[in-house]
Symmetry: C2
């Protein structure tokens, strides 16, 4: 009889590796990252052969083209993944970074120091590149990582995991710094999600059903990336040209991603002026508009929006359009329907912009720019492991810093408490 | 038939109040805090009468003296609680605070802005002052709070809750900003702990069994304050006088609190010189010493330590003593037995101190000072709502800042992504 699969050895090895990794030098970690990059190139044939098995199986099973797309590695993609490791090497090491220094009246020097979180679990779907990308960010931030990908990418993930573990070991760090769960038994995902005290954080990467599954089953801390229902609000003091550029970019530049705009809110005083122009430009880009009654009074060609449109994440060339009374009305709509991802205001009224930045309750609030800038690279974080819509610990793009915790450090000269 | 009690109206009112509170001005929040302070003094008789009922019942039930102590309010204690509200008023408002500003190559101004977390649940035991202390910190940081105290303090908590709600309302904020769950049915605690999406964070305040109950049952994010098994490591390059002052202070100044030292680690090269002096001073203060074999070889009067002593949080005048080979040995002992609260090193060797600060894996790591400084007030945070031993979001003392989340704010001049 086959033994029941268990993560116990994986979890133990991860905790031990995390101990060694938390005190590893930046040089040691960068050396391991460079070894991974080299190994990916050296074993490219092996990676592509394994990936071929996955894509063949997905095609045979009639899986959707978008999934096969995400699943597929090419020679160029492997080169790109290896190259991205160079970018992680170039990023500053967050571990040991000291900030918020102050001196207490008794002379104690108080500060905070970033430290690794410990053991991080990554649960993901069909993108095998996550093994390398997430593995590299966790390693650089001093965290041991346990990766569990979808069964569609199983062959690719196993090969990538073994190559990485070998490279990490060859560079002098424990191979268990990066572990792939090779067995795709669903019981093991649950074991990972419920390993309190053994896993310090789980970050899921994938579509809404996966996120919901993790949210509902996790007994360890999780940071989630739910959907992006992002709004652009055109104030009556907006400059029309700026507003047109921004809404077209926010909707059209890459409609399938989470920071693309899904709803356009327009102040009633500028609707007559702005909406016909916006409709012209957006329609020319192939966008289907679904308007409220007041929007359709200005642009009758729009489809009629229903209640289902306001909370919708289309991820497609569709835009919901609503005319609002004023900014308060826009903020109330956002408070009701937003997913807490990204909101943008277009206005030349500085006071109103400040109030919008303060009051809109999302991970990234933008004034006079596209929602598409809510991205780790664009905001200056370097690489990102995801965009958190969880408020605690990290909200918005998560870079290396967000993969650390912070302790207090206190330096004295013999102080005691009286 | 009585209706089944439910938190649904409480949770709904809290979310609505959180919306109003998140955009309240500092002045409005301070006005509410001042109104609470005034109301506590004005209703002192009522508070003390309710408290009398609780303490009478506790005495009748034969509850331990320490519990009755924590439960008891006096006229002076109520004055003290009211006065502490003045200190919270004086603290800077964290909401809207902007930090980490940078300018991107495309001219975008990126920064982070602190915002309230939302709805916070506080589950606590017999200390009725928590209603006011935690209520005030949540209110100042813009969070609606739901408080659920132990049944021992029920009369006190209900009266305090009603006085606070009335005062908050009189100051123009929603009374549901601070809510006390008046029904002590255990099912309601579980409802609070499992109200995903309705409660954004739960912080338990109390003994280990309560913390464990919350940890095991919560389905919402929690920040826990587990026990403090704090270590003082005396390096062979320590100055003896400093080392004596620090270990005596860390153990004796207030032995019943979480940042008191529980284990003394001594480098083997300094044990002969240091331990007899330390034993003399500590014994004179009434401390019982429990030593390892090597420690007892130097000071035979010590009791023999058993394996159970190393992870023990005595909260009493008892100290475990272990001779270690060197700092690595001390760090290994700490990694194995520490609760992640506070560790202190006494040494004149700067390089070793830096390594200890980096490698000891606890919420507060101290060089040449007492462990007793791991406290919000002492570290400059102003008031504290607790000391987190959870790494994510907040690690160590939690002040007003730690009761906020941070969003990205982006200010542009029409930038779009290309």
């Amino acid at each position: 009889m086959a033994e029941k699969p268990t993560l116990v050895p994986t979890l133990k090895a991860a905790r031990k590796a995390a101990g060694a990794l938390s005190v590893a030098t930046t040089e040691a970690k960068n050396k391991a990252l460079a070894a991974i990059a080299e190994a990916l190139i050296a074993h490219k044939d092996e990676i592509l052969a394994a990936n071929q098995k996955d894509t063949d199986a997905a095609r045979e099973a009639g899986r959707p083209g978008a999934l096969i797309d995400r699943l597929t590695l090419s020679s160029e993609r492997v080169d790109g993944i290896a190259k991205s490791l160079g970018e992680v090497i170039a990023l500053p090491d967050p571990v040991g970074e000291i900030y918020d220094r102050s001196t207490r009246p008794n002379g104690l020097q108080v500060a905070r120091m970033r430290m690794p979180i410990g053991v991080i679990g990554i649960v993901f779907e069909a993108r095998p590149n996550v093994v390398v990308d997430a593995g590299a960010l966790c390693l650089k931030s001093g965290n041991a990582v346990i990766l569990r990908g979808g069964s569609e990418a199983s062959h690719s993930n196993i090969v990538l995991g073994r190559i990485i573990a070998q490279a990490v070991k060859s560079a002098g760090l424990p191979e268990a710094c990066v572990q792939v769960i090779e067995n795709t038994d669903r019981a093991l995902v649950l074991e990972l999600l419920q390993a309190r005290g053994k896993v310090d954080l789980v970050i899921p990467r994938g579509g809404e059903p996966l996120i919901r599954f993790v949210d509902e089953n996790a007994r360890v801390p999780v940071i989630l990336h739910y959907k992006g229902v992002c709004h652009v609000y055109i104030d009556d003091e907006a400059m029309i040209d700026k507003a047109l550029d921004i809404i077209v970019n926010a909707k059209v530049q890459r409609p399938g991603v989470c920071n693309a705009a899904e709803t356009l809110l327009v102040h009633k005083e500028i609707a007559q002026l702005f909406l016909p122009e916006a409709a012209k430009w957006l329609t020319a880009e192939g966008v289907e508009l679904r308007g409220c009654e007041r929007a359709r009074a200005v642009v009758p060609e729009m489809k009629e929006a229903t209640e289902a449109d306001w909370p919708a994440e289309y991820l497609d060339l569709i835009l919901a359009v609503k005319v609002v009374d004023d900014m308060d009305d826009a903020l109330a709509h956002i408070a009701k329907y937003s997913s807490g991802h990204t909101e943008s205001i277009v206005t030349e009224n500085a006071a109103r912009a400040v109030r919008f930045l303060r009051e809109a309750d999302s991970s990234c609030v933008v004034h006079n720019a596209s929602t598409r800038f809510n991205d780790g690279g664009e905001l200056g974080l370097g690489a990102e492991i995801g965009i958190s819509t969880t408020r605690l610990h990290a909200f918005g793009p998560m870079g290396l810093r967000e993969l650390t915790a912070s302790k207090f450090i206190v330096e004295g000269t013999g102080q005691i408490r009286t």
